[in-house]
Symmetry: C2
Subunit: 379 residues, 2 copies
Amino acid sequence: MFEFEITAKNNRARAGVFTTPHGDLLTPVFAPVGTQATVKTLTPEHLKDINASLVLSNTYHLYLRPGDELIRDMGGLHKFMQWGRPMLTDSGGFQVFSLAQTRKIDDDGVTFKSHIDGSTHRFTPEKSIAIQENLGADIIMAFDECSDPNNHAYSKLAMERTHRWAERSLKAQTRRDQALFGIIQGGIQADLRTESAKFIASLDTPGIAIGGLSVGETKQEMHDTLDVIEPHLPENKPRYLMGVGTPEDLINGVARGIDIFDCVLPTRLARHNAAFSPAGRLNLMNATFARDEHPIDETCDCYTCTTFTRAYLRHLIVAKELLAGTLISIHNLRSLTRLMEQIRVYIVDGTFEENSPLLLEQWKNNAGKKMGNSEWEVA
Amino acid sequence: MFEFEITAKNNRARAGVFTTPHGDLLTPVFAPVGTQATVKTLTPEHLKDINASLVLSNTYHLYLRPGDELIRDMGGLHKFMQWGRPMLTDSGGFQVFSLAQTRKIDDDGVTFKSHIDGSTHRFTPEKSIAIQENLGADIIMAFDECSDPNNHAYSKLAMERTHRWAERSLKAQTRRDQALFGIIQGGIQADLRTESAKFIASLDTPGIAIGGLSVGETKQEMHDTLDVIEPHLPENKPRYLMGVGTPEDLINGVARGIDIFDCVLPTRLARHNAAFSPAGRLNLMNATFARDEHPIDETCDCYTCTTFTRAYLRHLIVAKELLAGTLISIHNLRSLTRLMEQIRVYIVDGTFEENSPLLLEQWKNNAGKKMGNSEWEVA
């Protein structure tokens, strides 16, 4: 069911095809995040226009609202939100640790209070898999614990728990039409990441995820960690770097053998009136755009850039019109999708290594902006 | 430039074609309202899918933000908001009276404070026309004063001022590619409405608007007023009933010889989670829809109804996802557009009189709901 064929390689960068029940996924790929069964402010038609191929949705949020059993009864997540292409759900682990009001972790699972109404819930590996089976995404995740990356003792504990939970997740799986990925943890500790990579690889899951990055470590630490992990990963399985990232991260991640990425950044930036551009991050509310007749990005082929001026977008923002968020989301998501398409062409052509410094320069050094998460991230 | 051809009549109901610089307008027609150069939450592509043909935008709002001169410099309103079909702007009069913080009316014009920042501005007939010429809509309005419908003395005063302002508006017009409509006022006073209809008709403008209705009077009073006006209107000019209305109002208005309507109702309802349906107004947040696999309206051909279930829409609403407003707006606007298309077919077929009671029944009596503005309107 879940074949992964590598069609081209440039050093560690790979172009591949991952076969899923909802069609072939061309990698490397960036997945827009549809937290609550919707990529915020966009219709599935917009996503198709953007040429999005994989959409992520969040187990924690959908479990709480509207409930995974309701979505199952409505025919599953694909049908519910009318997305006919591949989907991925996370395990809920990261959200329990980052969003829930209070949480108590033990070896069996996590008890937490909903951020919506304070009600008490419990996730275990078995529960996470049961929820993800109800949701029915093509790619699902083992339940994991994300640690503080700088605390070795806690990272070790969380990693060991993640390994036992990965085994229990696999054992709990009953559907064969979902690819269950194990997740490597271990903070930024080389010894732990090596151990975790070896262990998760040994489980022989149809794909492997790398969790616990882009959570506060430096770019160098992220790259070093990916460099430590990569040699221990099986060649013939897709590798998913969870919750990453910026355009720079995508380029650097592909160069380190990553095939799948996701991040809320493009849509979150859009809701804060910020757009990706070759000149760096544009804050479209800026008065300098009031009479700017250019599109956000002259080189972009998205609906927003081929249709509207910066002046119009600024007007929508100043007038508090919600259409601004929709139009900038379209552009930001198309920007990353297009970057990945470009990267894939380079890999297939055998020119990725040669072109990636240029790509990095183009996406990094403009307007003197550092493009790390800390720069792009908004509250 | 602005020819109006009546292609069919059923008693007083008319099907026509109004020629504008941005294409032929088939009447009767319902115009979605794009107050701030956007029909809230929708792209122009959505509006084309809905088969919207005429879009209204508000002079008062655009004058204040982003400014009519900016829009002129960006190539005009059509280009600014990328709507290539006919557009209409109002005179700003109604908004000055209903939205501005304070206002002082004299025979020359109105001084008012902006509802946005309290700054002081002044509209005169000449200023309103200058703004509307900068915006560049196909159909523009003479500056008018909307009175309290129940106060005969004030209605008379406001009507007389409206007449003098209509003459000044006409005199101020310099562009010949915009159809300037005079506006009939006179509250719900038969004598005033008769006088106003005769006077405005005498100005020989390419179309005639009826203002000051749907502002608190009863349905019967609205119908009686339309009945008083109609005999005095020239046959060969389009008639525009401003700010009206509900599905019921459209059917009753067409029966009384009206060709053009506009109202914020469909999009405003959508933002409050309410949808038009053959079963009356649906509040889609209602828990009864949580597992409802039907579309809003089985008979509707809109994107929302052909794609999504009520259960999904309710989930979006409960999860506070903005996509809900977009999807319900699409449905509500398509519902009224489709109603007008149906009415036009009936008129052309010569069956409008025979079918209008059925249409009224279908749109009025469902779920025991009275569908007057007071029922549909939301704060």
